[in-house]
């Protein structure tokens, strides 16, 4: 009996040992596979990093360069040997235009502190200056390197945008030149149609009067299109001046309404305007904000049927001034909501009612609000109407130096 037991136990032991051996072999095999997989992935990552066109940098929490890829070596005129372990902010200086960016304002420093991604675009006008003194325009993405939720470093991707800048400059220059050139023949059209309507040169038949008026209207449309194009090229190139002044919004909106008086009367629109009584003067660029009200109210008139109602409410909420412009007009189809601030967008439903319009108005309005540190949003339902809201900080907008202002008014 005992022998049988011993034999049995031995058998179990041997079997267990065999099983353990098989498992160990499997684990070894697996770990080898894992090793190979890791190696494969590492090789793949290395291949990507070293062949990509963008410069790539990895910094540690002391802003020291831990990794630099060949594209970055080339752009920054350095070698990995030279760059690794150097402090990034000292190694390469960064500029906004001609002004050097201070250490605390560097993207990598801000990202390390906030853990948030920073993306710069051509408009931000950032430059890097290498140690040899070469300065080049740059766009970059700076992202935190996270491990278990903690920021352990920074990854920076960047590229040289000299060519993009050049093309952008040429585009702006072209639009500006073409638009200015267009103004001469447009002035001739405007002034001669004005003369045609003078009684001194003989009176026109009713039909001729109508034709001349059509020419005059089309000329005005073309002039405003040229203005919009110019304004867009100004805003896009970042050359626009923001010149905040203490502004009385009540007075400003009333002036806009006065300018639109004829259109309002022609369409028998009922205007309701209400403004917070104790609204302080707000420090904003009156030319730019006038453009916003003008565009939104003009749109509301344009896209409302005759006899419609438009309400304009300017109120105060916390540290913001909220302006609301509502109409009970044609509305914007839901499936087009996402693109209403895009350049050249026009609602499919409104083109039928109103052929006039360039699709540039709301794009410009959004650009102005963005540059004034405000927000714009809307609600719209087809056949029921549209409401736009935009906010402006009570503290006002920051001034910005530039070369040009909007053409709306020259004083």
């Amino acid at each position: 009996m005992v022998n049988i037991y011993i034999a049995l136990i031995s058998l179990v032991l041997i079997l267990s040992l065999l099983l353990v051996l098989i498992r160990v072999k499997e684990i070894l095999k697996q770990s080898k596979r894992l090793d190979e997989k890791l190696k494969e992935e590492r090789d793949r990552a290395n291949a990507i990093v070293s062949s990509m066109g963008e410069g790539l940098l990895v910094l540690d929490t002391n802003y020291k360069i831990v990794l630099i890829n060949p594209a970055a070596e080339k752009l920054l005129e350095t070698t990995a040997n030279e760059a690794v372990r150097q402090k990034w902010a000292e190694f390469v200086q960064a500029y906004i235009g001609k002004k050097q960016i201070l250490f605390e304002k560097r993207s990598s420093v801000k990202v390390l502190k906030s853990g948030k991604v920073i993306i710069t675009t051509v408009i931000d006008d950032h430059y890097y200056k290498t140690r040899s003194g070469r300065k080049f325009p740059v766009v970059s993405i700076t992202a935190p390197l996270l491990r278990n939720g903690a920021v352990t470093g920074v990854v920076k991707l960047f590229h040289d945008v000299t060519r993009e800048k050049e093309i952008d400059r040429m585009k702006t220059e072209f639009i500006s030149l073409a638009s200015h050139q267009l103004r001469t023949p447009l002035s001739a059209l405007k002034w001669f149609t004005e003369l045609l309507m003078e009684k001194n040169y003989g009176s026109l038949t009713d039909e001729q009067k109508e034709f001349v008026k059509n020419i005059a209207d089309s000329t005005e449309r073309m002039i405003s299109l040229v203005n919009s194009l110019l304004n867009i090229s100004r805003i896009e190139s970042g050359r626009i001046i923001i010149d905040p002044k203490p502004t009385d919004l009540n007075e400003l909106v009333n002036k806009v309404l006065k300018e639109l008086e004829e259109k309002i009367k022609n369409k028998k629109i009922n205007i309701i305007f209400s403004i917070h009584q104790q609204l302080p003067l707000i420090n904003t660029d009156p030319k730019l904000i006038r453009h916003v009200y003008m565009n939104l109210i003009d749109n509301a008139i344009k896209y409302s049927p005759t006899g419609g109602e438009i309400s304009i409410i300017v109120s105060k909420k916390d540290d913001q001034i909220i302006s609301q412009i509502s109409d009970n007009g044609y509305g914007i189809p839901k499936n087009q909501h996402y693109k209403i601030f895009q350049k050249f967008f026009r609602g499919v439903n409104v083109i039928k009612h109103e052929t006039e319009g360039s699709g540039l108005g709301l794009y410009l309005v959004k650009a102005i609000i963005d540059s004034s540190e405000g927000k714009i949003w809307f609600k719209s339902e087809e056949k029921k109407g549209t409401t736009f809201w935009f906010s402006l900080p009570i503290v006002g907008s920051k001034p910005k130096a530039g070369e040009v202002s909007l053409d709306a008014e020259i004083k």
């Binding site: 200015h180 103004r183 002035s187 405007k190 001669f192 004005e194 002039i223 530039g402 040009v404």
Partner: protein, 128 residues
Amino acid sequence: MKNEILKIMVVEDELLLLRAIGKKLELENIEGILCQSGEQALNQLKNLDRPPDAIWLDYYLKDMDGITFMMKLQSQNKKHDIPVIVISNSASQEKIKGMIALGAKKYLLKAEHRLDEIVKIIKEFIMN
């Protein structure tokens, strides 16, 4: 001055525009001295018995820009008090500031105004 008709010098190198302006001034019973270049205008100014009541100036002329015109005008007639109104196709802040600093009374954007609006604005400057 009250009994005399108004006299406005127009400096504009686009012939068509110059013609439209000339016609408008005629309708308004204003004497127009029409010049197609800066040089021509400056020369005319030297030879006139009575200086014009105002100058209607385009910024970009074929032979000079508005800034040069203003400087030349000042150097040839140091005490002149003829109001200059600039009517131009392009109006950067820099140009406007430069022209106002040199004594221009107003800077208007060409395509934005009807002829009668411009004439009205110029008349206001003459009256003041």
